[in-house]
Amino acid sequence: MMRHLTTRLWGVWLMLMLATLFSAWTAADGLPGGAGMPAAALAVAVGFAKVWLIGMHFMALRDAPPWLRSLFNAWSLVVGGGVTLLILL
């Protein structure tokens, strides 16, 4: 069953899992740099980076028509950037 996966897809999955574990571990031990808006913004920005990886690799948007890839990139940038800025400012 798993022979249908490529090394790239395994790598993306591993990266997503490690990022989640790292986020949870740092949150349990206190966010890097202590609590506050920069730490909160960083946690959320990492979440949106994971979203982008899921979109490009799991949803195969890297091979999708440009208009669709552009819309997804725009969503990631506008929503991810907007929410991160709202927390920071």
Binding site: M1, R3, H4, W13, M17, A40, F58, A64, P65, L86
Partner: protein, 218 residues
């Protein structure tokens, strides 16, 4: 009785006497990126619309948190961080199984696709079970949607997400049952569509987890 002469097109000629026909043109190279059909385009428009709605919720939540940092910090502390993290790992793994299913069905390996979808469904059940258990713990501790703005957002956002999980499970179940039938019970595009929907369920949770469980911790 006169002998009928065969017409020229009825004559069987040896191959080297056959009239010359230009060889068919070579097939055009595949485009660099696959084009979407109408159904796939419609699905993507729905997915992006749903993501935009959630995006508005995320922004509203972040905006509200600015004035109530202490309330949000105290409330986030009461959430079960370990369960939230474990549920994130479950959904990420379920998404990997969906990738296996869509690639297997495209390669006409339907048994492997069915097994991968079954694994996805088991992950989804585990996620939903843990989420309901978490709700039980929070409600029994006295935290309800009316407790404060953080918990209003928490129950609304995770509740809507859980509804998406249930819809996704229904789609995956239909795809799985179709794949188990002998003669093409379900199309490749249906499995792909259900898979894209499930990835969206995963993707939204990947933002909800840090936004609700981590960002406001003291």
């Amino acid at each position: 009785m006169s002998r009928q002469t065969p017409r020229p097109e009825e004559l069987e000629l040896p191959e080297f006497l056959m009239p010359y026909e230009a060889s068919p043109p070579a097939p055009a190279p595949p485009p660099a990126t696959a084009e979407l059909d109408l159904h796939q385009s419609g699905l993507w428009i729905f997915i992006l619309g749903d993501m935009t709605l959630f995006g508005a919720f995320f922004a509203g939540f972040a905006l509200q948190a600015r004035g109530q940092a202490d309330v949000f910090a105290r409330s986030a502390e009461t959430l079960l961080l370990g369960v939230g993290a474990f549920n994130t790992l479950i959904l990420l793994t379920s998404s990997l199984f969906v990738v296996v299913a869509t690639r297997a069905v495209a390669a006409d390996d339907r048994p492997a696709a069915a097994r991968a979808l079954l694994a996805t469904l088991l992950c989804a059940l585990l996620f939903a079970g843990l989420k309901l258990t978490e709700y039980g713990v929070e409600l029994s501790a006295g935290y309800t949607p009316n407790t404060n703005l953080f918990f209003t957002y928490y129950f609304v956002l995770t509740g809507i997400h859980l509804m998406h999980v249930v819809v996704g499970m229904a789609l995956l179940l239909v795809a799985w049952r179709g794949l188990r039938r002998e003669a093409g019970g379900v199309s490749v595009s249906f499995v792909e569509g259900a898979g894209i929907y499930w990835h969206m369920v995963d993707l939204l949770w990947v933002v909800l987890f840090p936004l609700l469980y981590i960002a406001w911790l003291p």
